[in-house]
């Protein structure tokens, strides 16, 4: 999809929060994210570790996975890089 590829947002790589979470194998949290207002990739990009804890993401491995993925998206955003 050309529109997505050329999106200025690094987080535009994923079309939805659900797609992103599935991609990093954290799909079990999709409903929790949606229900708590993190229903777009732009909203998700602002998530902090505190937010994750509040959402009930208590497993440190899962916290790490989600935060790492967000960090990667931000790096892509800063570099203006579009992943191939």
């Amino acid at each position: 999809n050309l529109l997505i590829e050329h999106s200025p947002m690094g987080s535009g790589t994923y079309r939805s929060v659900g797609e992103w979470l599935e991609a990093i194998k954290m799909g079990r949290y999709t409903e929790i994210f949606m229900e708590n207002g993190y229903s777009s990739m732009d909203a998700v990009a602002q998530v902090t570790l505190e937010d994750l804890r509040r959402l009930g993401v208590t497993l440190v491995g899962h916290q790490k996975k989600i935060m790492n993925s967000l960090q990667e998206m931000k790096v892509q955003l800063v570099n203006g890089m579009v992943p191939l």
Binding site: K25, L59, V60, G61, H62, K64, K65, I66
Partner: protein, 71 residues
């Protein structure tokens, strides 16, 4: 993936079959593995009681090593 530190750690415990699931769940270095408890093992899918015990004992050893080094 073969050279991952968690894979090596699990291999010494003869539980390398869980390595992929550990990494998939974000337990991809020993710092994060030190914080493993029962809920983490549930998520990773380690169901065999003997395997769970072996991992939890190894987690305790990881923490002890840490204390020895850092004082």
């Amino acid at each position: 993936m073969g050279s991952n530190i968690v894979y090596e750690w699990l291999r010494t415990l003869q539980l390398a079959q869980y390595a992929e699931s550990f990494v998939d769940n974000g337990y991809d270095d020993l710092e994060v593995c030190k914080q493993i408890g029962d809920p983490d093992l549930d998520a990773i899918g380690v169901a065999v009681p003997q395997h769970r015990r072996r991992i939890l004992e190894a987690v305790v050893r990881l923490k002890e090593e840490d204390e020895t080094v850092s004082g």
